[in-house]
């Protein structure tokens, strides 16, 4: 229970469904902030208080689990390391994979509990053969199946998403009707462990700000950057280029090369990619047949569009070929494949063409 409205209603629904429920708030920072600032942060003392009060109203025991060390090692350090390698990671995927549905689920199982229920918006369906699959949520604006696509079959078997069949607006109404005073609490966005919201500054503090060249595709230096990893593929603003293009057209970040500390820029058209290769695949159910073409949809951002594609899988990769080219995709992002609304699996983007 984060202290937000979704996990509070999810807990209440789990109780209504007849389960024996306890509320757990994860302390993810060893030095929690006292208050929420805007929509950021999910580790404040105020949030743990809100979660506790929600548990009181629902009538379930409430505990705080200290996962600060696991979170730091599994999510924060990985985030920094990925950036240092010139990739752009999504820490929410990582947190679901390593913390909420691994460290928490494993501990819960050992303590005698069957599942971890969260306030994520996604649907779980079990077919007549007992095969469990994850589907997009009913509310397209809140669908969070993308950030859950890192869960393997075993993790899904220990996961419950009681809100998947609901729209957010109705969840808020329900929270109010249940007397949960977090009903109108704003949604959280951004990266919870960077409360300032200044990701570039946060990374600079940790990775240093070694300046280096910004070059065009011909290798001409057109500017200087303050730490290559603070840029992201497709970024246009804030490049501070000293040499304009001949026709005055804008330039975009095409590539980040951490080894040479170089940022490569070019025209918008050069961002276009139509082939995405992902490594370390995770299957949210059975692995699709290898080596043959499948039709489906690729999604590369948490609230991005479902892009029609063909894809081929192996034990160690997913390769998606998009019907329409896409502008700008950073390595390190999550590639999630859907079969209609069903989540097939995910992989980490390792290459694009």
């Amino acid at each position: 229970m984060s202290g937000g409205v979704d996990s509070a209603v999810a807990a209440a629904r789990a109780v209504d469904a007849g389960h024996d429920v306890i509320g757990v708030h994860l302390a993810l920072s060893s030095n929690p902030q006292k208050y929420r600032s805007g929509a950021r942060g999910c580790c404040t003392i105020e949030d743990s208080h809100d979660a506790r009060r929600a548990a009181d109203v629902i009538g379930i025991p409430f505990y705080i689990w200290d996962m600060a060390e696991e979170f730091h090692e599994g999510v924060v350090e990985n985030f920094i390391e990925e950036y240092a390698q010139g990739r752009t990671p999504n820490p929410c995927l990582r947190c679901n994979e390593k913390i909420k549905f691994q460290a928490v689920l494993d501990r819960a199982a050992a303590l005698g509990y069957d599942a971890v229920a969260t306030g994520h918006y996604a649907q779980m369906k079990i077919d007549e053969n007992g095969v469990r699959s994850m589907y997009r949520a009913v509310d397209p604006l809140k669908d969070q199946s993308y950030v859950l696509a890192v869960l393997n079959e075993k993790q899904l078997a220990g996961a419950m998403f009681p809100l998947g069949d609901s729209h957010k607006v109705d969840v808020r109404k329900e929270a109010k009707a249940r007397g949960l005073y977090v009903a109108n609490k704003p949604d959280s966005h951004d990266i919870c462990f960077i409360p300032s919201g200044n990701n570039a500054g946060w990374l600079r503090d940790r990775l240093g700000s070694e300046s280096g060249p910004i070059v065009d595709q011909d290798g001409n230096t057109v500017g200087e950057h303050q730490g290559a990893y603070t840029y992201t593929i497709g970024q246009r603003r804030g490049l501070g280029l000293s040499v304009p293009t001949v026709d005055g057209s804008p330039r975009y970040v095409l590539k980040i090369e951490p080894k040479t500390n170089t940022v490569v820029v070019g025209a918008k058209a050069d961002l276009a990619i139509s082939r995405i290769v992902g490594e370390k695949p995770i299957w949210c159910g059975a692995m699709p047949e290898a080596g043959v073409d499948h039709r489906g949809f690729a999604q590369i951002r948490a609230h991005g569009a479902a892009l029609p594609c063909s894809y081929v899988v192996t034990e160690s990769s997913i390769t998606a070929t998009l019907d329409e080219p896409l502008l700008g995709l950073a390595r390190g992002q999550g590639l999630v494949i859907y079969d209609g609304d069903r989540v097939v699996g995910s992989a980490t983007v390792s290459d694009t063409e």
Binding site: P32, I64, W65, D66, D106, A109, A110, L111
Partner: protein
């Protein structure tokens, strides 16, 4: 029926004390007013002061009522320090036992960070008793710089009694404060006989209401107040006198002290029974701070290969209330500084919990814990084994 084994955190109010509180709460009259209502309230407060003073071996004028043990400790710590450096800026060394309660450690650390205090921590021997040799050395080498010494009368997490009379002897003319909130009403405590300069007593640890405590401050001693106002308590503590709670405190203290010997024997027997049952169910459990002289009701146990928050959750599920030393403001269990002070590793400290027994504890309670503890520890060990930390 849930089993309450967290009496060191707070213990149920004695029915007689609750009755006093209820009947006094509806009476009117500020104890500082001169009219008959005020006089009546004041009379009750002074009778309560005399009763508590007599029970604690102090003179009534030495009793300063406060709103909490934390306030009394802050008053002593900051008061002695400020007075000391006002007289002599070089007298800025504070000597405290390393395993003091946070209500002592936090104010002395605050003084170090903001007011130039220099801290000396007295190490704790593995049996849970302060290292008197260290104290002797530090006093011998820094006598003229020491503002005061603070050593708790008994430790709240492991229950060990401290050699306060020896501390006072070593200290000589250096003020000595002792936090006696866990001792008063449970074991012998005599302010005059100990010869300390000040001591903290608390109501809710002995069956009185929350929100009232006392600082005993020796005759002739003066302290810089932390609350300024009407100067109601000896011009050292301001705030309208909390007459109903003070009277209820006195009621509880009177009963607790009268029954302390009988309670001691009964609770100690229950505690030893719990210890034996745990030891036989879990041979690798170890018991912390078992010195010769202890509070009767505290049993601090390390269960190897567990984490305390899992243990507490599982016990809670089984209807058994225990605790660890302290949690941070967000509610995260911390590794106990007390256990680390007596030589446990952080991992051992994190796998330890405290059972604290009180006057309402029964043999049935203890037997139920004895029957449950094996399964609880087994589950907690399984949870620990899957953790990243494991």
């Amino acid at each position: 029926m849930a089993i309450y084994l967290d009496h060191a955190a707070t213990t149920p109010m004695l029915p007689e004390s609750a009755q006093t509180l209820i009947s006094e709460a509806t009476k009117v009259g500020n104890a500082s007013s001169l009219h008959l209502f005020g006089r009546a309230a004041r009379k009750g407060v002074e009778q309560a002061r005399e009763a508590i003073a007599a029970l604690a071996g102090a003179d009534p004028t030495e009793v300063i009522f406060t709103a909490s043990g934390t306030e009394a400790n802050n008053l002593a710590v900051k008061g002695f320090y400020w007075k000391s450096i006002e007289n002599d800026p070089q007298r800025n060394v504070i000597v405290v036992a390393a395993f003091e309660h946070h209500a002592i450690l936090e104010p002395v650390q605050w003084l170090a960070e903001h007011e130039g205090a220099d801290l000396r921590y007295i190490p704790i021997n593995p049996d849970g008793v302060i290292d008197l040799n260290y104290l002797q050395e530090v006093v011998a080498s820094e006598r003229s710089h020491i503002a005061f010494i603070a050593v708790m009368h008994s430790n709240n997490e492991i229950g060990t009694l401290q050699p306060i009379a020896e501390v006072v002897e070593i200290a000589g003319d250096i003020p000595v404060h002792t936090d006696a909130v866990q001792s008063f009403g449970k074991v012998d405590f005599d302010f005059a006989a100990l010869g300390v300069t000040s001591a903290t007593l608390s109501s809710h640890k002995l069956g009185g209401p929350l929100g009232v405590a006392a600082l005993l401050l020796a005759h002739g001693e003066d302290l810089t107040p932390i609350l300024h106002g009407g100067g109601q308590e000896r011009d050292i503590r301001s705030g309208t006198i909390n007459a109903p709670s003070i009277l209820a405190f006195a009621t509880a203290a009177t009963i607790a002290c009268a029954a302390s010997e009988e309670n001691y024997l009964r609770i100690k027997k229950l505690r030893d029974s719990l210890r034996d049952q745990i030891a036989s169910a879990l041979p690798d459990a170890t018991f912390n701070g078992e010195s010769q002289r202890c509070l009767p009701g505290i049993l601090n146990v390390t269960f190897p290969g567990t984490e305390s928050d899992s243990l507490l959750l599982l016990l809670d599920n089984a209807g058994i209330a225990a605790s660890t030393g302290s949690a941070c403001s967000a509610g995260v269990q911390r590794a106990s500084h007390v256990l680390m002070a007596i030589g446990l590793s952080e991992e051992q400290a994190r796998s330890s919990i405290r059972f604290s027994l009180g006057v309402t504890t029964t043999q049935e309670d203890i037997d139920e814990v004895g029957r449950t503890i094996g399964a609880v520890v087994k589950s907690a060990q399984a949870a620990f084994a899957v953790g990243v930390r494991g």
